[in-house]
Symmetry: C2
Subunit: 323 residues, 2 copies
């Protein structure tokens, strides 16, 4: 068995090697190998391919396992894979995304950045005498749209702050009892009417595209804050921008955007509307999950699956079993 790492995955060769128990040959290939039959002479039937993308014009080569080093399968063309090839993915990004969401909610209520900017030896005495009270998360209601790994990781942390948690979930299930109430999709209006923070943590599907439209925003509290760490298009761009500009909601924390640059040189704005210039928007560059620890955790899962494959044990995170 050898491991073939393609494109961006190849940058993590050292990370994967550090997690492998046994020495296994690792071959790295450029991004183009994901969609080019040039790979096919390199790969053998017992190999593992690690890649965010895979596509062939016709049937692809046979190998044991395609391991996606992320959660999304949108880069994988499943019909290109031989039926004997299993597909696994990895998560672990729910940890940094939940930390980002809590950091953003705390910043919204406490305003640490502004406190820090105002503090100098000259301002200290008057600041101390005239302290303006800030807010708390304690006792506030958090509405979470989507109650998968990310939503549950956010709920775990929010509960420790004494927040009330409402979750919207297609399955309406909460096996760990993390939410005060789990609502079916028809409960959206109730969630929006009660939440002080609304976090979008559901995938983008035809059912969720534009879910937060002008009508939904109109149901939110006038000081509620929308946080999007999923996909921009779950919120209607024009409706959200207008509501923020006209201060019909308290604000928004936006880490995901309507336009992404292609390739290594394209320059595009993140949206048609200038969200970043609104004082009630906290805008960040799709960075919520982007931590030093994330690839270490993800490649540790991949290394564990390589070990399991060698030992004939059941694999973790199987999204398509081998036929």
């Amino acid at each position: 068995m050898k491991i073939i790492m393609i494109g961006e995955a190849a940058n993590h060769q050292g990370t994967l090697r550090a997690s492998l128990r046994d020495p296994i040959e690792i071959v790295t290939l450029p991004r183009e190998a994901a969609s080019d039959a040039a790979l096919d002479g390199v790969v053998a039937g017992e190999d593992v391919v690690v890649s965010l993308r895979f596509q062939r014009a016709g049937p692809g080569p046979a190998f044991r396992l395609l391991h996606v080093p992320g959660a999304g399968l949108d880069g994988i063309h499943l019909p290109s894979l031989a039926p004997s090839c299993a597909v696994c993915n990895v998560y672990e990004h729910e940890i940094p995304i939940a930390e980002y969401v809590l950091a953003a909610m705390l910043e919204w209520r406490i305003g640490l950045a502004a406190m820090r900017r105002s503090f100098t030896p000259e301002t200290w005495s008057d600041l101390y005498r005239n302290r303006a009270p800030h807010g708390e998360l304690h006792g506030r209601t958090l509405g979470i749209l989507g109650f998968g790994r990310i939503g549950r990781a956010i709920a775990t942390r929010a509960r420790a702050f004494g927040m009330r948690v409402l979750a919207l979930s297609a399955s309406a299930s909460d096996p760990d009892g993390l939410a005060d109430a789990v609502l079916a999709p028809e409960g959206l209006s109730r969630l929006l009417a009660e939440a002080d923070f609304v976090v979008i943590a559901c995938p983008l599907t035809e059912a969720t595209r534009g879910l937060i439209d002008a009508d939904a925003i109109g149901r939110m509290k006038p000081d509620a804050v929308l946080i999007n760490v999923s996909r921009a298009e779950v919120a209607d761009e024009e409706a959200l921008y207008r509501a923020l500009r006209e201060r019909r909601i308290g604000g928004a924390v936006l880490d995901v955007w309507y336009r992404y640059p292609a390739g290594s040189t394209e320059v595009v704005p993140p949206a048609r509307r200038p969200f970043h210039a609104l004082p009630n928007v906290l805008a960040t560059p799709h960075s919520s999950a982007w931590t030093e620890a994330l690839p270490r955790r993800r490649y540790a899962v991949i290394a564990e699956n390589v070990r399991r494959l060698s030992a004939g044990e059941p694999l973790l995170n199987v999204v398509r079993p081998a036929a």
Copy 2:
């Protein structure tokens, strides 16, 4: 029975009234009444006095209860109180202080403020392509000096982030099982050597004054962050400033200071050394507990004690029982 609110407490007459179940007469007096026998003609034996300060040159007037609307008793001269007078205090500040500490740790690891500053329509494309990974709280070790209400409120939240919690406590007790280890004071060196964040959450006493001196700081990890939400003097000013300037520790989050302005006009710097100018210091003006919700929660406890006193039930938070 009537309630007499003195000085700063008098500003919260409306807050207290909103929490009282029954209409009770409230009298407000200026700050000077706390140390002036002018009060003595107003107060009757069955009354409740709400004040942060109380002092008489000789024996004071008899009343039922002195309710301090804060945790500290440093403004109360107990011998001035008649033996029949009970003394109660209030807490509730552990909630905002714990939120501040978590906000500061998250900001330290994630850097939301810098992310926000860097984000513009022009920078977006390159920021997205060249995202610099940030840190996580998950898996980091938090050392808490003092494991009272504040330390335990911090531990509750830190655990939900997957942090390892070491607490230093004179009683070495942890009835709620919040810490991975509770160390007696002799365990300070171990805590300092293992912690990524060290939070000072103990009171200032002769045992804790200067506890974080040059030797203690020298035991900390080179990237560890010291957070002080207690009293500045627990950390030696000169030793801390030098360690920060020479980058022998990662940084500090300081909300409490070495000098406070007296009266309504004095202007003093917060310290002899310019901590605020160091890039690895996050300095704020003693604001961690200063929230809108804090007086509401505190006066709700005071109103409950007034009800209990009327009903002859045991009082909450008794720091000195009536003789």
